[in-house]
């Protein structure tokens, strides 16, 4: 499984806090319900969106096709030099 522990935890915890914990602290008033729904929906949609992007790249079935100039440039600048 091509997944790393850190990003998954970070984002799940982040959106979990926004969507599950924060609604309890919504200010009392006529807008309490609206704020709770807004927080929950935001957390759910944003987390699912990130998850799809993450899972689509976990096990890539194809790789990027790059011109040799781009390859040389990437190798030099992105810090993984080639032999």
């Amino acid at each position: 499984m091509g997944a790393s522990f850190v990003p998954i935890t970070v984002f799940t915890v982040l959106w979990g806090v926004v969507g599950i914990v924060c609604p309890f602290f919504a200010p009392k008033g006529p807008n309490r319900g609206i704020i709770q729904v807004v927080l929950m929906l935001t957390a759910a949609t944003c987390w699912l969106f990130w998850l799809c992007a993450y899972m689509a790249q976990m096990n890539p079935l194809i790789g990027p096709r790059l011109s040799n100039e781009t390859l040389i440039w990437i190798a030099r600048t992105w810090g993984k030099p080639y032999a």
Partner: protein
Amino acid sequence: MALCQLFIQPEAAYTSVSELGEAGTVQFRDLNPDVNAFQRKFVNEVRRCDEMERKLRYIEAEVHKDKVHIPAVKDMPRAPNPREIIDLEAHLEKTENEILELSHNAINLKQNYLELTELRHVLEKTEAFFLAQEEIGIDSLTKSLISDETGQQAANRGRLGFVAGVVQRERVPAFERMLWRISRGNVFLRRAELDKPLEDPTSGNEIYKTVFVAFFQGEQLKSRIKKVCTGFHASLYPCPPSNTERQDMVKGVRTRLEDLNMVLNQTRDHRQRVLVSVAKELQSWAIMVRKMKAIYHTLNLFNMDVTQKCLIGECWVPTADLPNVQKALADGSNACGSSIPSFLNCIETDEVPPTFNRTNRFTRGFQTLIDAYGVASYRECNPALYTIITFPFLFAVMFGDLGHGSIMAMFGLWMVVKEVSLGAKKSTNEIWNIFFAGRYIILLMGLFSMYTGIVYNDIFSKSMNIFGSAWYIPYNSTTLEHNQALTLDPKESYVNAPYFIGIDPIWQTADNKIIFLNSYKMKLSIIFGVVHMIFGVCMSVVNYNFFKRRYSIILEFLPQVVFLCLLFLYMVFMMFYKWLAYSTFYDDFAYSQGCAPSVLILFINMMLFSSNVPEAGCKEFMFDGQGLVQRVFVLVSLACIPVMLLGKPLYLLATKDKKHDKPEQSNGNVNQGIEMQEQQTDITEAAPAKKAESHDHEEEEFSEVMIHQAIHTIEYVLSTISHTASYLRLWALSLAHAELSEVLWNMVLAMGLKTDGYIGALKLYVAFCFWALFTLAILVMMEGLSAFLHTLRLHWVEFMSKFYAGQGYIFQPFCFKMILEQEEKDD
């Protein structure tokens, strides 16, 4: 929402309705629908208000003419009570008469002023003529006029008469010609133009005039000349021939002019003072009169009861606002000192009340979006609450670009932060008003677009490498030199853990990025589409539960959701499974990258009960037993269809003896068959309409229920496929946006970045100008509008058709604020 009857004393009626108007919480019903507007009870009062409005309009026109500034009123004044009305009327009448009188006086004075000025000009200019005449002598004049007479005889014949006057400059040539013709050449005209224009008293326009002196001989010519002058509207002035008399006259005229000037100035100042003092109160008077008129129109809706002792009105009141209404009525009675209180009586009714969704300035925009499709039926579940987030989010999926999103967010933020000052400006520009009304929507759309832009890793078509790419280059220099392009194999180039947030930055530079992004975005669209639709179907449970139609939960909701989930949620599951199960790093060849089956092909085969021969070494299915599972799913889903079709009608048939306490609400079918054409639309268009209007408790006929349910079932089943495919527009628009952005960069801005030096700087300056212009106009505005429209369609059709009835009518309370705003807009 409760239907209430108000019993109000006639004396207290005006003040009570005024209080209710300030509160703005009740919607009055017309109790005299067949009474003519001119026969209603309070028609005289309405006429008085109209008369006052006319006076106000006249005064306002005069104020505008003098360009006096009308200060905006800070807080809305209340409607005046009857005593104040009389005062106001008297005051308005007095002011109007005063202004009329001032205007007339001013005109008269100006007329005098004009005449005196013209006289002065005439006197001054004719100085020159007469001087010349005296110098040259009569001889030369008579020589030019009468050639064959001796000078002596001419002198005896008599001196020349003359008339002096002023005529408009445009008419001078025609005037001259006419004089020439009429006198057969025996008139001598001298003229001098006035440099300064004179002010016309009535219209205030400036006119250029010419002074003329016409010399002639004989009385007959004089009368003819006078007639010509009258015809050309030339004003004649008596001009004494001798010099001394002229000088005296000039002096006299000058003094009179100065006096007149002083009087004119004083009149002008007085008028200015009057107008300024009136202008201060003009706005508040206008508002008071409008409120009065509204109150009397409302009172006309009331009915006088049999004993003639009190007025009865009927109104819809939201149940939560009943205490407010009681308080308003009490205030009204107190204000007019009436001892008998008014009271409110709630009555039972079968009529459908209007729909009232309380909104604040944040939620109003979203509620407007939903209401534009159809006002919710009374007490129906309001989808606007969820639209607050799902709308900007689905927009952002289609718009996803950090750069463009931040532009949109800044625009929205500016409008929201400055909303008080921008809202006070009252612009008439339709487009600006629409943008301003949707400022919270725009702000949220921008913020979500920034988030999706980060995940798509797209900022103005470039990607950001913040956390280090997951791909590296495994080749050595010789391989790189000899191959023009290389495709990285995940086995060798991938670190086996994806980029921290979003799409890896390497894809932006790749030639085959479309292949990867297509697969990713299509799956993303279907996932969100299916989730959105399941959410919509689940909303119908809320409705069924509230309206106590629990049987519908089992007979309608359950088969619908099972059908949707077993087929399409299963497809979503297959997508997730494929993302997890197939990898180049797995040892099992059947689960390596070459053997990954197409989810779409699997789905089609599942529905058609067919199968594909897999390639060598690969398996057809993704997990063991998938074939069996799929067959079971399809069969169960097919079994749901007759339940959807027959469940509810048969249940209603079986329970026909029991009384239903709510009239049948037609559930859904607001779609109007946009996607598919029903063959039976003609018959069923009549049936739901009849049902919606019936107020009694009769059940519908079984055939009608059956037909309606058939339509509903066919529509639902077909819509699961078509709406799921419709969500692919999320993929299509985001692809188009990314491509447009990239084309704009490569074709426009890159041109400016390729040259060095001073020429390069200049090129970049020009290229950036065009790039920025096109970014704003095409990518932010046009794409934004396009994505907005598609998101709206997704909500209205794909989401709301699963549960929304939308057959209500909107609650329009009697509210002064809304009436005043409406009248401002009409102005």
